[in-house]
Structures are given as C-alpha cells and as structure tokens.
Symmetry: C3
Subunit: 238 residues, 3 copies
C-alpha cells in the first residue's frame, strides 16, 4: 500500500508488500526491498538503498514503568543521499542518517540520534536515543551504544562493545550520562564502558577490557578493571 | 489474510499485509502494525500494541542434534492488557506476557516463559525457554537470559548481560540449571553469570563481572572472577 | 509474488505475502512461512522449513568507507535437505547450509560461508563472511563469529561469544585473520577471542575469559587475560 499522499521521485524501485504511509518523501534512483514499512513523514533522499523487511520512522513506545514521555514532537526520520539500510532493521522517527552511511541488517537506531557522514553501524548493532555519532565512525557488529553518548569522528568500535548510562541501575529520577569517545579512539571487541567514562583522543581500549575510569588521550588500557599498559610492553595493539 | 475463524474485538486497527491465523482471539482497542504474523490460537487482550514485522505464537523447531522434543502440547501465547510488543520480534507459543509488559524491537522469547506485570524486556534481548521473570523487572537491551532461569521481582539487569545453563557445555544428557537472581538484585552491563549461580536479594554485580560463585544478599561483587568489594571502598555502585 | 521463472517441487506449503524471485529452485515437502523473501537463484532442497519474515539470498551491500568490492560472482545460496531456518533471519547469497542444519531466529549469515552438517547457529547469532563452520558444531544464541574464521567439527560455543579479525582496528589495508577453533574445543559464554588466536583441539575456554594468546590442545584457560588453570585446581569445567 503506497499512500497517494506520498511523494515518489524518478526511477524508484519498490518491492512487493511494501507499505509507504502518508507524507513520505522519496528522492530519485532509490531502491526499496520487499515487505518494507516506511512510516509517516519519513524523508529518503536520492540513491538510497533500503533492504527487505525493514521498518523506517517508527515512533517510540512506552509502558507504565518507563520514565519516558511519548515524543510527539519528533522530527521525521531523514536518510540522506547514498545511504544504505540493511534487512530487518528498525530505525525510529527523529533520526538523521547522513550521506553515505551504512546500516547493517537487524540493527536498530532510536529517536534523537544523528549518524555522521560515511559512518558504519554494523549488523545487529543498537544505538540508543539522544546519542551523537560523528563522521567516518565504525561501530561493528553486535555493539551496544547506550543513550546520551557522544562518539566523535573517526572512532573505531569493535564487535560486541557494551556501554551504559545509568550508574544507579534503575534507582529513579536523576540525569543519565553515557560515555564520551573522543576523536580517533579505538575500542576492542567485547569491551565494557561504565557510565560517563571519557575515552581520550586516539586512546586504545583492549578487547574485553572493563573501563571504570577515564582514559587519557593516546593511552592504551587493558584488563578488568582496565589499567594502562606499561610503556615498555609490546601489545597486540601496537 | 485474516482467518474467518479469528475473533476480533471492537476498535481494532490492523495494518497492511498482516496474517492472522485460525483460532486467534483479539480484544478491544488493539493496534497491530504492518506485516505482522499472528499464529494459531494466540490470545491478545485489550489495549495491546503490536509493532510492525513481528511474529507472535511461533512453534519451536528442532533438528537431529537438539535434545528437545517438539512441544505439541504448548498452551497458546497470551498477551495481557496494555502490553506493548516492538517491531521485528519473535514470541513463541507457550509464553505468558502479563499486563503492562514492554517488549523491545528485535527481542525474542521462547516457549514456557512467563513475564510478570510491568516488566521490560529490552530491544534485541533474548529470553530462553522455561524461564520465569517476575514483576517490575528490567532486562535491558541485548541481554541474554538463558533457559531454566528464575528472575524475581524488581530485578534490574543492565545491557548485554550474559548467562548460561549448561556447565558441561553440550556434553550430553543431564539436568541444565540457569542462574537464580533474587528480588531487587542489580546486574551491571556485560556481566557474565555461570550456570546455577545464585545472586542474593538486593545484591549488586558490577559491570563486566564474571560471576563464578554464589553472591550473598546485599553483597557487591566486581572483577573476573568476581570478588566482593571491601566494605570500606567507595564504588561506582554506591 | 511468486516468479513464474521459479521451480517449485511437490507438496510445498507457501505462506502469505511471500516473495519468490526469478531462478529460485525449491524441492519437495518444503514449508515456507509468511512474509518470507527468497531472492534470485536461491536453491532450497527437500524437507526444508523456513520460518516467517526471513530473507534468503541477500546480496552484500557496501559504502564508500568499506573496503569490500561488491561480489557480483557469488554463487547462489544453497539450503540442503532437512535444514531449518528461523524467523526474521537474514542469510546471504554465497552461503552453503548443509543437511540438517538449524539456524535460530534473528540470526544472520554473510556471504562465502559454509555451515557443516547438523550444526546449530543460535538465535541472534551472527556469522561473518569467509568463515567455515564444521559438522555438529553448536554456536549458541547471540554469539558473534567474525570473518576469516575456522571452526572445526564438534566445537561448542556458548552464548554471547565474541571474536575479531582485525588487530589494527580499522587502520587500513592488510590481511585480516580470524581465530581458529580446533576440533572438539569448548568456549564458555561471553568469552572474547582476539584476532588470529588458535584454540587447540579439545581445549576449554572459561566463561568470560579474554583470550590473548594461543591455547594448547586440551588446556583449560580462564580470566582476563586468560591463563591456564593449574592442574591441581578443580574447576567448573571439570
């Protein structure tokens, strides 16, 4: 079902069983797979490729226990020129996906998130709300990027990374703060960052490290809890 | 395709390309998204919201190597009043989802599981079979709740939690036992619990901890393997 | 929409809103769920079961930042007799799924992968490209199997396993090398393997271990970084 109130550009390929709701705008040379759902007001620019069985522009839900208010004022989802969205993804309203971004299959991205130019969000990766991802960032497969987090340009995050933003673990009403990963830092696979940790510019966090304190620029940390590598020690990250 | 043998209540909104099989019962004021599949006999009470591209009431499968017998006697999936099920979820037959429960996108819940009132199962989280989840529990995004596990009321589990129930790792026929997490305990992100571990009432497991022994009520443990924090030490969990 | 250029065997059950593209070949006694997408040239042998909302035969995508070239020469996806594919899965072109394999819901398998007979890939598990999985292997739920990895016969991998193949974390053009897990080795839940690590035949890696060096045949390692257990110590893996 393609809403007659949707605007569709030139040379757009649309698969079978696709739903395009009211107010959707689609540019030229866009490819949309089968069984895709594009919700109200979503904006898709030129040369975008949406794979099968993906939902775009979903509104946040809520239940009694969750603090969050329904965000009725979210701006539409925008997917800029040349971006690719994988199969079976869920991307919310209020997300800005910049030019050339690549989103892997089964990934999901919550509201109030901006993904910068040419960044990659791996398959099965999750980006929570109110998080900013810079340009040319790689977030590998299965990584969990918590809410209220800042990832600067050229950061590399290995697979299965985990972060959190709630140091009192659900105790109530107070400000949540996710980690900040500064420009060019690299995080190894299955590393864990505690809430509000700052990873300095160009720092390296080893695979499996559990980071409980800030890491200075260019430092290399490993272990649980993570500690700086001695400067004389050769490491697998050298 | 909506089976003529399904019962649909008043003021039900059903999206495009939805499949509702025989024997399904849907209450009043229910919202069902696009491309949803609702399998045989599923019961959905009033004011439930099912998001797009979700499968409800799936039967377990099996192969030659898997011990499990097909569970032909599973009771239907029941989703009680006011529950919300996200996009691209897979919920099995034999599951009981209580009032006010919130299930995130891309989550999956296996057969013979009960989720108590007002609990949250985060996006991409997985709950295995024969597990019981209490009331007002939070299981955050990407967590893995193994089979044969008990999670009591008011437990908080951070993102990317991992558990297991098979201490001989696939060696054969013997009883599997998942961990037990007692009332009000809190588990940090990316923590790992070994099979049959008991986490005491109100205990706290730090982020990234690998728990190889039982944790007493109100104790705080961190590290790999996890050890109690000294009582004089301030921690990020205090 | 079922392409008239597809070949469909005897006694095939096809759900609602299914898309079967040109050149697909389906054997006898196959069951295909609702809202399934089967892309060009996919070969499905006899007695295969495909659950709902799954994509089969997807082509790899790419963006500017990714090194990979589009693989226009990939052979079709082949799913051999008696295999089961779960709900909401994404399986690529260029994959060979052998007889009796079981793929859980929400799993995804990239191109140039072979899964051996009677192996299990758990729900939400991910297998990257150019990886080989032997026979009778178990890869449990939520595990991440990186690219360029070799998993030999009878290996057991617990839930939430993580691996990587890129020891310079995105620094540029050089050979990537995933771990090798030799015959019959067992890996505990949420263990982390660094790139190109070799796990010897019959070795055991404890839950939550971070493996930074090769593990000899039959050795047992635990901790972060992992170290061999002393031979006099009783362990949960004994």
């Amino acid at each position: 079902m393609i809403s007659p109130a949707a605007q569709i550009g030139k040379n757009v390929s649309i698969g079978e069983n696709v739903v395009i709701e009211d107010g959707v705008k689609i540019g030229d040379n866009v490819i949309i797979g089968h069984n895709v759902v594009i919700k109200k007001d979503t904006v898709i620019e030129n040369e975008v490729h949406i794979h099968d069985l993906t939902t775009l522009g979903r509104y946040p839900g809520t239940n009694k226990k969750m603090a969050r208010k329904p965000s009725l004022t979210l701006s539409p989802l925008i997917i800029q020129t040349g971006a690719v969205i994988g199969s079976n993804c869920v991307v919310y309203r209020g997300v800005h996906i910049s030019e050339g971004v690549f989103i892997g299959d089964l990934a999901s991205i919550r509201e109030n998130v901006r993904i910068g130019r040419d960044s990659i969000v791996g398959r099965n990766a999750i980006v929570e709300n109110k998080t900013t991802v810079g340009e040319r960032v790689t977030i590998q497969t299965g990584s969990y990027v918590t809410a209220d987090m800042i990832i600067e340009d050229d950061v590399f995050i290995g697979p299965c990374f985990s972060s959190s933003n709630d140091k009192y673990m659900g105790m109530g009403n107070y400000a949540h703060a996710g980690p900040v990963i500064k420009k060019g830092a690299k995080i190894g696979n299955n590393a864990t960052l505690l809430p509000s940790i700052i990873i300095g510019e160009g720092a390296i966090v080893g695979a499996g490290a559990v980071v409980t304190k800030n890491v200075a620029a260019k430092d290399i940390v490993v272990g649980n809890p993570s500690k700086p590598l001695s400067k004389n020690t050769k490491t697998s990250a050298d």
